[in-house]
Homo-oligomer: 141 residues x 4
C-alpha cells in the first residue's frame, strides 16, 4: 500500500518547441514512458512481455492534464505515479512531474486492460492486480 | 457566430504503435495541428506570423481527452473545432475527430494568449478576439 | 517512364526546434510520409492494405540526407520522389524538398520488400514492380 | 585521444511502429540524444548553455545511416560516438548502436558550429575544440 513509482527524465532538445519550452505532446510521451517504466519496474510486467508475448495491452482511454509551469532544455523532471482507483478492467492513475520543488505538469490517465486479439477489456490478471493495489493511494500526495 | 473550423488529417504509418492503432500522443500532435490551422485559416493569424513576427504565443495550459474508438493506418479523420468559452486572455476549445460517422477522440484544450518575451498572459488583440468570437458555440455540437 | 511523384507538406509548429527551424528527425518523418503517399497515390498500393492485409512491408535499410537550407514554420515544402535503381527485392529512391525554388533537403532511402511474417526480403510483386518502373529515372532531375 | 562516448537508451513502446520495430526517424532522435549527451557529459558543454546562454548551435548538415538489424521494444541499445574528422567549423561523427553484440544501426552525422543570431558557421571555441579532439579516432572502431 501507498507505494509511489518514481523515475526521472531529462528534458532534451527534441522535446522543445520554437518557444524553447517542452511541446505539450512530448509531455504525453513522457507520461507514457512513466506508465511503461512503472509496469516494468513497479509491477514486474514489461510492456515487451505483455504486448509481444501475452497479447495483453493497456491502452489509455482518457486523460486530463494541467501544465503548471514551462520546462526548458536541460531540466531534470522527477515523475511520480500512483493509482487513485482500481476497477475490474481499468486503472485510474495520477502522474506528476516536478523540477526541483516546482510542479510542472499533472496527468490523470485511465488505462484499460485489453486482450489485443479482440480489442476487448479483460480483467486484470491476478498477479498484476495485486501489484497494482500496492500503488493505490487513499488520498492526494 | 456558430462557425466550426474543419479540416482532415489522414492517419499515417508514423502515427501508429505496435498495436497498429494511433499512439495517443500523436493525437495531441493532430489536435495542435488543428489549432494551428484554425489560427491560420479560421482566424487569419498564422502561427508563423504570431510567434516569429509578433512574439505572441498561445500555449495550452490544460487539456482533457477521451479516446472513444481506435484509429488505424489509412483512416481519414475529420477534425472539428469550436470555442466554448472566451476569456480576457484565455480560450476554451472543443475539438473532435470522426472517421466517417464514428467519433474517435474528443479534446478540450485551454489556450492562453501570452507575450512570448515575458511569458505573461496578455489580452487577446481585438482583431483576433472578434474572429475567435465567431467560433463561440452556446451549446454542444 | 520518367514519372515523378510530387506532393506538399506545410512546416508546422510541431516540426520546429528551439532554433525555430525544422528538427532534422522530423524531415525523416516527412520523407517517410512522402514514400507512403507515393505507394498509395503513385503505385496504387496503400500502406494500410500492404501492411495490414497482405503482410508486405517496405522497411528502409539505409538512407543518406543533406540539409541544404533551414526550413521555418509556415514554409510549404514541395516533395519530389523518383526511383534511381530497382533491384529484385530493393528500390533506391531520390527524394527532394524545395520551398519555392530553394532546395531544402535531399534524401536517398533504400527500401527492401519484405514478408512481414518472416522479416525476409521477397521479390516485388509484379503489379508493384511495373508501377515502380514508371518512376525510374535514367538521370538526376 | 581515442576516447569514445557511450551511453544507453532503452527501446520504448513509443519508438516502435505497427511492424513492432523501431520506426527509423526515432533512431535519428536517439542519434540526436547521443550527440546532446556527448556535448554535456563528454565535452562539458550542455545544449542548454550553448543554445540558450551563448547562442551557439550545432545543426546537422548531413547524415548517412544504415539499419543493420531491427530493434524491438525492451531492447537496451548501447550507443557509441567518436569523431572521424574535425574541421575549423565542422565535425564528422561516427555513431553506432548495438544490442548486446549485434550491430543495429550506424550513423555518420556532420555537425557545423554556428552563431545562432546569424545562422553562419563560426570556428569551434578553443575550449570545445580541445575536448572534441580527444574523441578523434584515426581508424574505425
Amino acid at each position: 500500500m501507498d507505494d509511489v513509482f518514481q523515475h526521472t527524465i531529462k528534458v532534451l532538445f527534441q522535446h522543445c518547441d520554437p518557444a524553447g519550452i517542452v511541446f505539450y505532446p512530448r509531455y504525453f510521451e513522457m507520461v507514457n514512458q512513466t506508465v511503461e517504466e512503472w509496469h516494468e519496474v513497479g509491477l514486474g510486467h514489461s510492456f515487451a512481455q505483455m504486448h509481444l508475448e501475452r497479447g495483453h495491452g493497456v491502452p489509455t482511454v482518457s486523460i486530463g492534464a494541467e501544465f503548471s509551469a514551462p520546462s526548458k532544455m536541460g531540466d531534470v523532471l522527477t515523475w511520480r505515479l500512483h493509482v487513485t482507483k482500481l476497477g475490474r478492467t481499468s486503472a485510474h492513475l495520477h502522474v506528476e512531474a516536478h523540477c526541483a520543488e516546482e510542479l510542472r505538469m499533472t496527468a490523470t490517465p485511465v488505462l484499460v486492460s485489453v486482450d489485443m486479439s479482440t480489442g476487448r477489456p479483460v480483467p486484470w490478471p491476478d498477479a498484476m492486480r495485486s501489484r497494482i493495489t500496492t500503488f493505490l493511494q487513499s488520498k492526494q500526495l
